[in-house]
């Protein structure tokens, strides 16, 4: 069953959430579980088009977080919440486990401390192993590993489906999703706040700022000067699926103060990933890859697993973490402004998203927003499976027998079928361009990058688009 959308009374939403990334979508979903009307405002053409689409997609246990921080608490809780939510919605997850590898004496000596830290974070399953055990688990690792720490519950997840599931769920619970609504100005009134956006004004009693890389800008529009976001670029290589047998677990470096360092990880789509780099930029839109980044990754990769570098590269990309000048997540309500900031969700927000949303709900209640849980919530959405661990439509004889469109493979490298492309174009939050379609189906994401299927996928998307009669402003693919 679906819930009646909660209409804003007199054109005023109870809450407006700015930012359609994982964090904003999780918050909108959480709040729509209560008796309030919610709007989710996203500047871009699609949800999940910011940092949430370009990360390393690891579902962290939080074993290495700084104990006692809000981040540590929310990552640990987020791990469990997202694992359960993934089961309910079909978000692809694989509980692969991780091995943190020590390459020198200093790193080896750091392992016991890391194990204690994990325990301080409430994570009890780490084990220190010797070099033989490391090579038993990862036979293709470069020579020279001295030992390691296993993290059996560290997992891989599909970040795209996570964001889509949360946003779809929010929408089905009644959230009004407003795409192409970049917030450019704020007018605080006594009863409500007017958000000036690129697509007109939106009014709400309460405002939650989950704008990721733009959160400090929004915060300043509310008159604060609390923090500055530094875009910290992370570049990554995705290697061909044929490399996947080499990497069955996440291979972690011993963490440093700069961040989590370069890792090798299987992906939920059956590839192997190497990255990310960490480089502070000034341009918050610069998600380009760089020669230096590539050289750095290739050098690291050579040191970690030389055989991997002989494999073909399928893709490369870069994401920007929202690093801030503050050691923890910065989540604070300003009750007199009916405003709440969610800032500095840098390298763990995918995992922590749902826990952040819970925390936000508590803070809003404490700040005076009345939030009563609804009894009539719709079931969470069942998301299409784009992971390799479970059956994909092209493998499902019964499904194909019912609908031959699932037997018509369009993207050969990723085995994406016509049925899936059709579905993605007509989903509650439909794919509106090729990028959106890639994130919903994996089409064109494979080793040929469109050599065979690019033209056919483009044609299919447009055919469905034309039938939808949706706004053709967004008709920009491959013009």
């Amino acid at each position: 069953m679906t819930a009646t959308p909660h209409r804003p009374a007199g054109g005023v939403f109870d809450v407006a959430v700015i930012g359609g990334g994982i964090v904003g979508a999780a918050i909108a979903r959480e709040l729509s579980g209560c008796d309030v009307s919610v709007a989710l405002l996203e500047a871009r053409d699609d949800v999940g088009d910011g940092t949430s689409k370009a990360n390393t997609a690891i579902l962290h246990t939080g074993f290495d977080a700084k104990p006692g921080t809000l981040e540590s608490r929310l990552v640990a809780r987020g791990y469990h919440l997202l694992s359960a939510y993934a089961k309910a919605t079909g978000i692809p997850v694989e509980h692969t486990g991780a091995v943190l590898v020590a390459w020198n004496g200093e790193e080896l000596r750091a392992l016991p401390g890391l194990k204690e830290k994990a325990e301080a974070n409430g994570y009890e399953h780490c084990r220190i192993v010797d070099a033989d055990e490391v090579y038993r688990i990862l036979p293709d690792l470069a020579d020279g590993a001295l030992g390691g720490l296993t993290v059996p519950d560290e997992s891989i997840i599909c970040t795209w489906t996570t964001n889509l599931a949360l946003a779809t769920d929010a929408q089905q619970r009644g959230t009004t999703v407003l795409l192409q609504h970049a917030v450019t100005g704020i007018d605080e009134g006594p009863e409500s706040t007017t958000l000036r956006t690129s697509s007109g004004d939106v009014r709400a009693r309460w405002v939650v700022n989950a704008a990721g890389l733009g959160a400090d800008h929004i915060d300043r529009l509310f008159g604060h000067d609390r923090f500055t976001v530094t875009p910290r670029r992370g570049e990554l290589f995705v290697f061909d699926k044929l490399a996947r047998p080499m990497v069955d677990k996440i291979v972690l470096p011993v963490p440093t103060s700069r961040g989590k360092g370069v890792l090798i990880s299987p992906t939920i789509y059956g590839n192997v990933m190497l990255g990310p780099t960490a480089e502070d930029l000034t341009d918050r839109t610069d998600t380009s890859t760089s020669e230096d980044g590539f050289d750095f990754l290739l050098r690291k990769g050579e040191g970690l697993m030389p055989r991997l570098l002989a494999e073909e590269v399928t893709a490369s990309y870069a994401g920007l973490r929202a690093a801030i000048d503050h050691p923890d997540y910065l989540i604070e309500a300003t009750p007199q402004q009916r405003y709440l900031l969610v800032g500095g969700i840098r390298s763990t927000g995918l995992t922590a998203g749902i826990a952040i949303a819970e925390h936000v709900r508590t803070l809003l209640e404490e700040a005076g927003l009345n939030l009563r849980s609804r009894g009539d919530l719709p079931e969470p959405p069942r998301m299409p499976n784009i992971g390799e661990a479970a059956q994909r439509p092209y493998q499902d004889a019964d499904l194909i027998a019912r609908d031959p469109a699932y037997g018509t493979i369009v993207c050969f490298c990723e085995r994406v079928t016509e049925g899936e492309i059709r579905d993605a174009c007509h989903a509650p939050l439909p794919a509106r361009d090729l990028e959106g379609l890639r994130r919903r189906t994996r089409a064109m994401n494979g080793r040929c990058q469109g050599f065979f299927c690019g033209a056919a996928v483009t044609a299919l998307r447009e055919e469905h688009h034309d039938h939808d009669g949706r706004d053709s402003r967004q008709h920009k693919d491959n013009r």
Binding site: I400, G407, F412, F451, T458
Partner: protein, 419 residues
């Protein structure tokens, strides 16, 4: 409950209905009879020539010259008329055992267990990502395959001003397609001191195409958000960099076989071609599994792929007739400037390779090549050839240079005599 997938058992399964697969199918059906099944994942059979809408096909196999699509249609008609079955929209997605494959098509998910298999899955161009070119990720960046698909099969516009990366035959083919689509090929970029295929290019005549070529150059960055705006290129000798404005970039050549099925089967690959390691009978390392076409030599012209298909058909027929023993062979290795040689194994009693030619890929331009064949430290053959060895196209050497090879000796090296 999911049912056990249904099974079909043709005599021969040919995976890939391009020139190689279709020619093998036609030959097998007309000479052997039995049930010959060719499958292709595309909506229509014909392989790459289907969307390569210019002339230049069919010379060596059909002794006439026709357009790609006409050639593809001809091969399809011939295979069908000979009695082979062709299933399109039918993709082999993996192996369920050593001689059984899993298949997906609109009719369903099923298995095929033939007596013999021919892998003819062709080759593709490495896209920008596989070439590790950094920068922005705008629209308008293609391979020739995608470009020709867009323009010839889907009649879509491309941009106005293009840079072509590569100077192979296929790069000129991209230039022709761009012109037809109303896009000016503004610059061709080649790593080599001369555009590889200049001398042999007669498709539309390079005089007509008149594309300026930046030699000894490489692309170092793609620039543009949304739509491509420019590429940055570097001169390899001076290190000087400049940007070239363009809204379209086509990455051409730099081939890799579609070897996923071979690799997931555990079939031995040649480190040079990255296709299956084969002998002159085109056997792979798995008994009953053969390979033909561009997956063995990425990349040669379609007629050569087709003649591979004819050659492999005869070998498969011998296999079906029970001839399964073969002697140990010696390994053929390519020495610099050659990157690879195909096929790679020579066994006594085996037939000469297709067309009596060894195929090699050169990383250097050599106007008057003198081929030297060495075994166990001794030169066993020298041959001066009257055609150049040039990067970007296959260099053919008559297999008669192997006549002096000792079947019990060590690996055979094929290289050049230095003068």
């Amino acid at each position: 409950m999911t049912q056990q997938p249904s099974l079909i058992t043709p005599d021969v399964l040919i995976i890939g209905a391009g020139p190689a697969g279709l020619t093998a199918a036609a030959e097998l059906a007309s000479r052997h009879g039995g049930r010959i099944l060719a499958v292709d994942r595309e909506p229509a059979a014909g392989g790459i020539p289907r969307h390569s809408d210019h002339t230049g096909y069919g010379l060596r196999d059909l002794h006439r010259v026709m357009s790609g699509p006409a050639y593809a249609r001809h091969l399809v008609r011939r295979a069908t008329a000979a009695g082979a079955e062709i299933r399109t929209h039918t993709m082999v997605t993996g192996w369920s055992d050593d001689h059984t494959v899993d298949v997906t098509g609109p009719e369903g998910r099923y298995r095929i267990r033939p007596q013999a298999i021919v892998l003819a899955t062709g080759a593709r161009e490495r896209p920008r990502t596989a070439r590790r070119v950094p920068g922005d990720r705008p629209h308008g960046v293609y391979t020739t395959g995608q470009l020709q698909n867009l323009v010839h099969l889907h009649h879509r516009p491309v941009g106005k001003r293009a840079v072509i990366v590569g100077g192979e035959l296929v790069s000129w083919s991209a230039a022709v397609t761009l012109r037809e689509a109303g896009c000016t090929p503004a610059l061709m970029i080649s790593r080599y001191p001369k555009a590889e295929s200049y001398g042999v290019f007669n498709l539309a005549g390079r005089a007509v195409l008149r594309v300026p070529v930046a030699t000894r150059s490489r692309v170092t960055r793609i620039i543009g958000k949304g739509r491509c705006q420019a590429v940055e290129i570097e001169h390899l000798d001076t290190g000087r960099r400049r940007t070239v404005a363009c809204d379209t970039v086509v990455f051409t050549g730099d081939w890799i076989p579609d070897h996923e099925l071979a690799r997931t089967a555990g079939i031995a690959l040649d480190p040079g071609t990255l296709g299956p390691l084969t002998d002159t009978a085109l056997r792979t390392s798995r008994p009953g599994v053969y390979a033909a076409g561009n997956m063995l030599h990425p990349v040669d012209t379609a007629d050569v792929a087709a003649l591979d298909g004819r050659h492999v058909a005869h070998q498969v027929i011998s296999y079906l007739q029970g001839m399964r023993e073969h002697a140990e062979g010696v390994r053929l290795l390519a020495d610099a400037p050659f990157r690879w040689v195909a096929p790679q194994i020579l066994r006594p009693q085996d037939p000469a390779p297709p067309r009596g030619r060894l195929l090699l890929w050169s990383d250097q331009f050599v106007r008057f090549p003198k081929v030297a064949v060495r075994q166990d430290g001794r030169v066993i053959a020298r041959r001066s050839l009257s055609w150049p060895a040039a990067p970007g196209r296959v260099f053919r050497v008559p297999s008669s240079v192997l006549e002096g090879v000792s079947p019990s000796g060590g690996p055979v090296h094929i290289g050049l005599e230095r003068v």
